[in-house]
Symmetry: C2
Subunit: 517 residues, 2 copies
């Protein structure tokens, strides 16, 4: 086992030399190259940002893009291409790998799980590089506004966090900083809460706090929340379909279904404008451009005024300050954990290409343990992929392409359970926690994401445990055992095999997992 | 000399018990008290936030407020009252001290320089507690968006920073993080730049970068910038006067002078609305509520479109993301420097009260040196005060009350000189610097504000040096020296004394400086 920690360099505060302009995937299509030498890398090691290779369209998807990427691989006679990214980039990596195999191109395609959203998470991938850093920076800022809120005693902070559809960033930040409320998209979607039900839930919290004499608070809102509210989701999908049909933005409001149009008109003008904005590379709405926190603050204020008039609320006037903690957490100096994790993944990628694997992702299990207990592997990308039929609005277009889908928060998981246990204390007790900035030395410098450390994710360990049970069966049912025992064992195993066959996806049955230990 | 560093406790991440609700100055008026024991203080030491004593109106100014404060002091039989704050709180402290002396109240009033703005700065005060922390948190975030900007290569970040009228926070952050541009209020005021001249300056920068193929950048804007633009200042003053005359907000636009009304109509609606908001405790506009960064981004975009149409700009479409880094930097875990500084100031305050001083501020000189070289003193508040006649708009109301005024950036100082030297490199070279989060141990944990370390502020040292020169004169002109030498010495000293008498303010001639060394 190779340890990333031993290669950790101390952080530089000297500026790096920015001379490259490689334009990310567009640079790949255009065969813009840079030989990454130790000298080039020296000022980028253990630093944030994507500026060494640049970012542009973040896609290798259309047949034109795929064939441009292939041409570059062939021209450069590349042994391997390492694609760094989240769910969409790794879906693209799988598709590219397949195409290159079909076209007899020798370049192996390997994916590395890197994304601030934390939504690339499955039986192989425990977390992504960047998630820890982004959550730590955000938690630092959230705890700052918590102390600012309690100092002034008169504002509610509505803080929206990046993280796309899933609420992983918001959940992790809530566990790190203990804000008063967190409205999770997954909870809202499960309970099918309407927009006004969400607003009432927040207002009830504000009211309960006012009864304790508290007129301040901090509320976390994942950016994906807006899509989790059923009627908002339907509206966003209708707009998306009209977009895809090239309806001009100005005409979209007039072509909505009657109920979507009614909701659209109910929303404040700034939200209407934002909903009509162009869409992201994966056809979802530009969540980072929708000021959900302002929408909620606006509606909560209206509801509190209504409750005051009706005599149901007797506290001080509700007053809010809105924040979007997004861009300012990206590009941060990475945490020690993220540096270690990234070093190990890079090392695995090299071994994968040397072993001739293509269409695989570098993975590390047991991340919550010390580095010497980490277990490296290569997992087939197809094993993470599935085909979903989305009903995107009343137009009902089935989308049938295999893809790695963002994993939502597991509402039966330990992290969510912990949050639920604490929710009422968080709401009322101002149990704020101040983690401070990311530390590189001393106490706290080895902290890992809380969600990672409390989730039970030892996949490889579980496989070992299964092997132990299978061996135990062999030991019990060996020549000399009774006929009844043998019969019972066969009957049980037939049933187990049957259940597992049904449960297993045909796609991932064939591809083995590669271990590097 | 007592060293603050030796008392530094390690930082807690365990939540403190928030049970007090003392409401700041309003609590003082209402005689709400808390005995600060070691137990109470345990979870507040070396932490951020003002929640132990709370914040409310931040004023002890009106005769009602002053007499309420005095009643509390008398009821509690207080030996001393320590007032913690910036320019306005310490002006109030001076007034309160004077009143208490007049009324024969035994309570001594002592001020402590604490403010994130850094604008309480004079011959006695090198910096305020909190400035270092706020600048470090902001610089961390600015460097994150710098790396995000260069990674994406397509946005300009317009970042507004707190700090009230002066640009100290913005200057310090620029020296720490090396953004592409900083528009300083003091520069704009000195050159009397109009709003469109400021816009053109930014657009020229955008254009120069585009010629190098760079379509991203980061621009810092101090919140006080808006007041530094002459025509905006005049408009804000007119609105302020109408406010003070109790003109309803809706009628203010109709009562402006013709040219102020014309400017008001030119501004985008969101800025118009913000300008009409209510004012802060010192009668200035609520600078933190004016989205100057959005105003500038809006006007820069319009100007870049104009330049594109006229064929003067040939780069990619200008695109911006706006940020206000304000609240999220307050309440942070303080830097080691701020902890040390605050401990020492607290210690001095105790000695001042024990020595029976009132109307004085605790000060520490030589802060840029190691703690054992720090020099503690008590400086008379009146020595920092002056009387200014403000022409607040065409109404011309002279305001004649002595006050400590915010110090602007010294445009002849070393910090500004350094920025000017680097300005062209910052603009074009993407010389970004990543200081990271505040460190409590290891490299960087002892960093102090850059502006503090490069300014030459050894006031006490200079006084010692002066004494040396005076002694030298005595040594030269002793019995036995020639008549001519004596005559020359007397004549020189008469002239020196005369000049100094004229230069010295009558107010601070009487009060001596107290040293604790």
């Amino acid at each position: 086992m190779w340890s990333g920690a031993s290669m950790m360099l101390s952080r530089f505060t000297i500026p790096r030399v920015f001379s490259t302009d490689l334009c990310g995937t567009e640079g790949l299509f255009a065969n813009k190259t840079l030989e990454i030498t130790n000298d080039v890398l020296a000022s980028y090691k253990n630093q944030g940002g994507f500026d060494l290779l640049g970012r542009s369209i973040d896609q290798i998807r259309s047949s034109k893009q795929v064939s441009a990427a292939m041409t570059t691989c062939q021209d450069l006679n590349l042994d391997g291409l390492v694609i760094v990214g989240g769910v969409t980039s790794n879906s693209d990596a799988a598709q590219l790998a397949e195409t290159l195999v079909q076209k007899n191109c020798k370049t192996k395609v390997v994916g590395v799980p890197v994304s601030l959203n934390g939504d690339l998470k499955n039986q192989f991938v425990e977390t992504t590089v960047g998630f820890d850093t982004v959550c730590k920076v955000n938690s630092q800022l959230i705890s700052n506004v918590c102390l600012d809120a309690i100092s002034a005693g008169k504002y509610y902070y509505f803080v929206r966090l990046m993280g796309r559809k899933a609420s992983h960033v918001a959940l992790e930040c809530a566990l790190q900083s203990h804000p008063n409320m967190l409205i999770m998209g997954e909870e809202v979607a499960l309970s099918k809460l309407t927009l006004m039900e969400v607003i009432n839930k927040i207002c009830d919290g504000v009211q309960a706090r006012a009864e304790l004499g508290k007129h301040h608070g901090v509320l976390l809102i994942p950016e994906g929340l807006i899509e989790s509210i059923p009627e908002m989701y339907a509206l966003i999908q209708e707009i998306s379909i009209l977009h895809n049909n090239n309806v001009p933005v100005t005409e979209i409001p007039t072509q909505l279904s009657p109920w979507a149009a009614a909701l659209f008109q109910f929303l404040p003008p700034f939200i209407r404008r934002e909903l009509l904005l162009h869409q992201e590379s994966d056809n979802s709405a530009q969540l980072s451009q929708i000021d959900t926190e302002q929408l909620l603050a606006h509606l909560v204020e209206a509801e509190m005024i209504k409750r005051t008039k009706e005599g149901r609320y007797k506290g001080k006037k509700f007053s809010s300050v809105c924040h979007f903690f997004g861009y300012q957490a990206r590009g941060s100096l990475p945490s020690n954990f993220d540096c270690d994790y990234a070093y190990v993944l890079g090392h695995i990628s090299l071994h994968m290409i040397a072993a001739g694997l293509t269409g695989y992702m570098a993975t590390v299990a047991n991340l919550k343990d010390p580095v010497h207990k980490w277990r490296c592997a290569a997992a087939p990308l197809t094993a993470m992929m599935s085909v979903r039929r989305h009903l995107r609005g009343p137009g009902a277009i089935p989308i049938g392409k295999p893809a790695i889908h963002p994993s939502p928060i597991d509402l039966k998981g330990k992290a969510y359970e912990l949050l639920r246990e604490k929710a009422s204390s968080f709401l009322l007790d101002d149990f704020y926690r101040t983690p401070g900035g990311i530390q590189f030395e001393g106490p706290g410098s080895d902290a890992k994401p809380i969600t990672l450390t409390i989730e039970d994710q030892d996949y490889m360990g579980d496989i070992e445990m299964l092997k132990l049970y299978l061996d135990k069966v062999k030991t019990i049912v060996k020549p000399g055992c009774s006929r009844d025992t043998l019969k019972a064992a066969i009957s049980s195993m037939i049933s187990v095999t049957h259940v597992l066959t049904v449960m297993s996806h045909p796609l991932n049955a064939e591809l083995p997992l590669y271990h590097f230990n």
